[in-house]
Amino acid sequence: MKINSHTKISTLIKHNKGAIDAIASLNVHFNKLKNPILRAVLAPRVTIADASRIGKCAIADFFNKLKEIGFEIDPEENYTSSANQSKDEVQTAESLEKFLDNRSCESLDVRQMITDNDDPFNLIMSKAKKLETNQAIEIINSFEPIPLIRILQYKGFACRMIQEGEIYRTYIKKGTSEISDSTEDSILCTKEEFDSFQQNFQGKIKTIDVRGLEMPLPMVTILQELEDLQSDNALFVQHKKIPQYLLPELTARGCKTVIYVIEEGNVQLLIHK
């Protein structure tokens, strides 16, 4: 199988179970992969590039280990491409003060939970949802929680991360326009991510199925539904494909789209304003 730095860890494991041991041997952080629950939660959210940053090892080390167990490295892979990605997220203490701006900060140490094989994701998300504008949360962790930060940012939260030796502190507050500008208008995601986005709109989702409609009725139907959609609701669409001609119009109308491709001919979209 050909891989590159964007290949998901779950894809590697699915292809070859040996990848679990190979990756775990790189770094103690990756022992978590041996735990089936954590593996199920983390592996689909993390790419090789993410993992190399979390575990603080070079992507090249990853590739070397994976090559040993028979993976093929995409020859066009550019190792340096992801090196600077976390630069914006790792901030110094001075900018933290500015970031928190006198907000009261609740601290949540999730290291024990992770050691006990619990996934703190839902706990963090439920706390984040309850945040007021004058509040913030501090998450203390033993690795850089990149998937969490991405999902939070996509949902409009602002995040800052500070590293102190072995400890990573992630600060979360309600978002500002500065952050929402930096997120994508449409993203392709895994089933777990898609489900968590859906949970965010629980009880406020309208579902439509446009698979049986002739072109361009799927587009017309979706845009009509969006016109009537309340601003805090979301539209769940069963589609046949990623709608290439609809996406530009969704962006123009200020909508965000999460896309989950189940298989060819079966795609789910979650659109909100």
């Binding site: 959210r45 998937p147 999902i151 208008d185 587009m219 990623i242 896309i259």
Partner: protein, 428 residues
């Protein structure tokens, strides 16, 4: 979790310029053929027939296919065209080269102007191939349709390169093999390797999409792909190395390949959720059924290749070019072109007010008349060629010109469509 591009759609002028020029070339070629019907009763190697064939394959078929391809690439490959500027440059070079070749053959000029025109076409195709390869590189989807597109442009590049070699061979004879044998390769690479293969690639996405047929097994398409390319390679090698046995095997492989493709479309047609087909789809389905005629004709042509079979050869190519490829293009035009114009005109109003649909941008009665007249004209033409009857050929061509006029009227109405409000549309 990755961001996905939201701006993959091409600029509409890229697509419309191709359709406008393509439609004009089709109408022009039919009119010229009507005034020179005797070109169809002579040996196929006559200047006017060569001239019109090149106008048709370059400025009509290739041009429209490229235009449609630019519109469909984002849907098939899920990524944006590498460069729109290259697309326009390639389009202009193609038209200049095509007009040059057309004028040279028409006036029986076989030296430098013809070679220069050939070079222009080759440059145009080189730019197009580069553009498409760079686009395909960006695409991560794995689909047999992508392979069809990639493989068809290899044959396109081979076709125009051989064409240029033939043009040079006119003035500076250097080819060791008979000019006419190479001409057969040139024609088959172009029609089967480029047109038919690309049509298989695109229609196997488009037709099931418009049929609303889901979960189709793609095995026949894979089979069709390998057999078609094997047939072309074997056919070429047999001609170059004079392997007599290779030709019938190649023919058999080719017929099986087309059969496998038609089987795939037939299954899609049977499984369709949309039971009643609209006028554009009816024409498309019928034109594919016409593929059976050249398949049938290819067998007597093969067995009689030492006797007088020019008229069969002409019938064979006319069926492929006018009966199948042109009819399919005329049918599918109404499934692709209106959409891009509709999107450009109405995208910011969709959902907010009552807007027409793409199918409201043209007149359906005109398309129905166009279909009937085009197929009757084609049938008369085919009989006329088969029985050497100039009068039948002339009547057939008159009908084809009339159908081309109706087609042209509709595409002009689509391309220059002005926004209409309050549901004030063409009556159906």
């Amino acid at each position: 979790m990755n961001g996905t591009a939201t701006q993959n759609a091409p600029s509409s002028y890229i697509v419309t310029s191709h359709f406008l020029v393509g439609g004009t070339a089709w109408l022009l070629a039919m009119i010229l053929l009507l005034f020179n019907p005797d070109t169809l009763t002579q040996h196929f190697f006559n200047p006017k027939l060569l001239s019109l064939t090149h106008l048709l394959v370059l400025s009509w078929v290739t041009t429209i296919i490229l235009g449609a391809l630019y519109q469909l690439l984002p849907v098939i490959l899920l990524c944006k065209l590498y460069s729109e500027k290259l697309a326009i440059a390639s389009f202009i070079l193609l038209q200049l080269g095509s007009i040059g070749i057309f004028l040279c053959f028409w006036n029986a000029v076989f030296n430098y102007p013809l070679i220069i025109s050939g070079i222009l076409v080759c440059l145009s195709i080189a730019l197009f191939c580069f553009n498409l390869c760079m686009t395909i590189r960006k695409s991560t989807v794995k689909r047999i349709e992508k392979t069809f597109i990639l493989s068809s442009i290899v044959w396109l590049a081979l076709t125009v390169s051989i064409g240029l070699l033939l043009a040079i061979n006119f003035s500076f004879p250097f080819l060791q093999i008979s000019h006419l044998e190479i001409l057969k390769l040139h024609a088959h690479f172009g029609i089967v390797g480029w047109f038919i293969q690309l049509i298989i690639g695109i229609s196997s996405v488009l037709l099931p999409m418009f049929f609303l047929a889901h979960n189709l097994k793609k095995k026949p398409l894979h089979l069709s792909f390998y057999l078609l390319n094997a047939a072309l390679v074997l056919g070429a090698l047999s001609k170059i190395f004079h392997l007599e046995i290779g030709i019938p095997i190649s023919l058999l492989l080719g017929i099986t390949s087309i059969g496998a493709y038609l089987y795939f479309i037939f299954i899609a047609y049977q499984k369709r959720l949309k039971r009643k087909l609209d006028v554009g789809m009816k024409k498309s389905v019928l034109s594919l059924a016409f593929l059976l005629i050249p398949l049938g004709l290819s067998i007597p042509i093969f067995f009689n290749h030492r006797t007088e079979t020019h008229f069969l050869a002409i019938a064979y190519f006319i069926t492929l070019l006018i009966g199948v490829i042109s009819s399919l293009i005329m049918g599918q035009t109404f499934k692709t072109l209106p959409f891009i114009i509709w999107l450009k005109t109405y995208k910011s109003f969709i959902g907010k007010e009552k807007t027409p649909l793409p199918k409201d941008l043209y007149s359906h009665p005109l398309v129905r008349w166009q279909n009937g007249i085009h197929f009757s004209g084609f049938a008369l033409l085919l009989f006329g060629i088969s029985f050497h009857t100039i009068i039948l050929i002339t009547v057939g061509l008159s009908l084809l010109v009339l159908a081309a006029l109706l087609y042209y009227k509709n595409i002009i109405a689509i391309i220059f469509h002005k926004r209409i409000t309050h549901g004030n549309t063409y009556s159906k």
